[in-house]
Symmetry: C2
Subunit: 260 residues, 2 copies
């Protein structure tokens, strides 16, 4: 099981916060590792959350459906990322989650998440950080859709996903490849699939991106970045400010036996 958990551990590891005890507490929280086929709906809109789901391998997407049936993809779920982190706090979900590829997931019972804070403030803080990152990703998405033209949006999104993959422990030939069709690009970035196609072609003709067979590949990261003014720092994919590390160092993980 340990090796499968690695993207989550890699992601958390960038924080430099967790002790070995915290990590093993995290492992004990994770239940029910399961494998699913592509296309499965993991969470449907308006249904209550069953559990917080951790994506161990594979990609998912999070979307909202409009009254007329169109869908807006609001975020992706990459390996090491979570679904419904604060699920316990809402009576109903407000988005759906679907698998883009086959995938392996684990679950944390919704109610356990809230008790993590009592068991280990350090691990609780790490979960908050995940929540904070998710908000930042969404904020970037607002900026892309609100202010950039079609080709820039695509470039910017690909670079963000690349940054996130690196953070989650992937390395560079692989972190540049993404299981994204042009239809997904269109639904995520608020454009028609025809326009998505023309914009992808344009990026392809510059030699910056490939897009075929349901895969998109970043070819010229730097050129893409200057094309869309991508700021690679925004994720702050670094360690926590040292003040926080010191402040939280005093807590033992003794309490960890409380959970489960």
């Amino acid at each position: 099981m340990d090796s499968q958990l690695s993207p989550l551990h890699a992601r958390m590891g960038t924080l430099g916060l967790l002790t070995p005890d915290d990590e093993s507490l995290l492992d004990r929280l994770l239940h029910g590792v399961r494998h699913h086929p592509a296309g499965l709906q993991l969470q449907s809109e308006k249904a209550p959350y069953r559990a917080t789901i951790v994506m161990l391998a594979g990609w998912g997407l999070r979307y909202k459906t409009l009254a007329d049936g169109r869908r807006q993809i609001t975020n992706f779920v990459l390996p090491g990322e979570t679904i419904g982190l604060y699920g316990a706090l809402f009576n109903r979900c407000d988005h759906a989650v679907e698998l883009m590829t086959e995938a392996t997931t684990a679950e944390i019972p919704c109610l356990d998440v809230m008790e993590v804070f009592a068991a280990s403030p350090r691990l609780g803080t790490a979960l908050c950080w995940i929540g904070g990152q998710d908000e930042r990703f969404m904020e970037q998405q607002v900026m892309r859709i609100g202010k950039m033209n079609a080709a820039q949006r695509i470039a910017h999104m690909l670079l963000e996903l690349h940054t996130r993959l690196l953070q989650n422990g992937f390395e560079d030939p692989w972190a540049l490849q993404m299981p994204i069709t042009q239809a997904v690009v269109a639904d995520a970035l608020g454009m028609s699939h025809v326009h998505a196609n023309r914009s992808c072609r344009m990026l392809h003709e510059h030699g910056w991106v490939d897009s075929q067979g349901g895969q998109m590949t970043v070819r010229e990261q730097d050129q893409l970045a200057s094309f869309c003014d991508y700021d690679p720092d925004y994720v702050n994919g670094g360690k926590l400010p040292s003040k926080v590390l010191h402040r939280l160092a005093k807590y033992t993980s003794a309490a960890s036996s409380k959970v489960h």
Copy 2:
């Protein structure tokens, strides 16, 4: 001080979670109530967060600046809402916050936020819920900009703000009025100010909205809602699921003396 804190208490109150002890712990966390003039920049992009700021009265807006100087407003900060809730967890902010009106704020030192979880899991859970709501607001914003036309975006945003004001303890003649100029509408919803103007006029000519003198007023909530398919439930502005309430009831607030 107590009366000034009311929008925050009103907001938290909708959860039905906090005990009187939790509430007084919250009050003790809040430092430095201050009054500011309209237009003040409370947080600048790329600067570290100084503290988590709680808006007690007045409106703020959260935005990102692009390389070419344009800005995308990503969210509003209403009375009872927070800025930089997880500020301690990031080395740098990734957005700026500016006051739209004169305002009263209080602060929670960034590092204290993380210790709340140890002191009171209930209050910590309430803070997570705030973080979760912020993410939902942002997600709605993505959907609006990505999939709706200009007039619908405006209608939808106004209705969301109305819902949030109600949640934060405002009542209806007041909760329908918002200190929003057409330029702000344009920057928030990804359209030119000319187009924002024409769309506001259109809504005004239907008698659904007023927009003059830097104020927007919702006149016909129901018609607006059907015009843009607004789902008033999405905020889940209700109590927590009862399971969570029971699960968290067991913790005493005894530990609250640890903080501060």
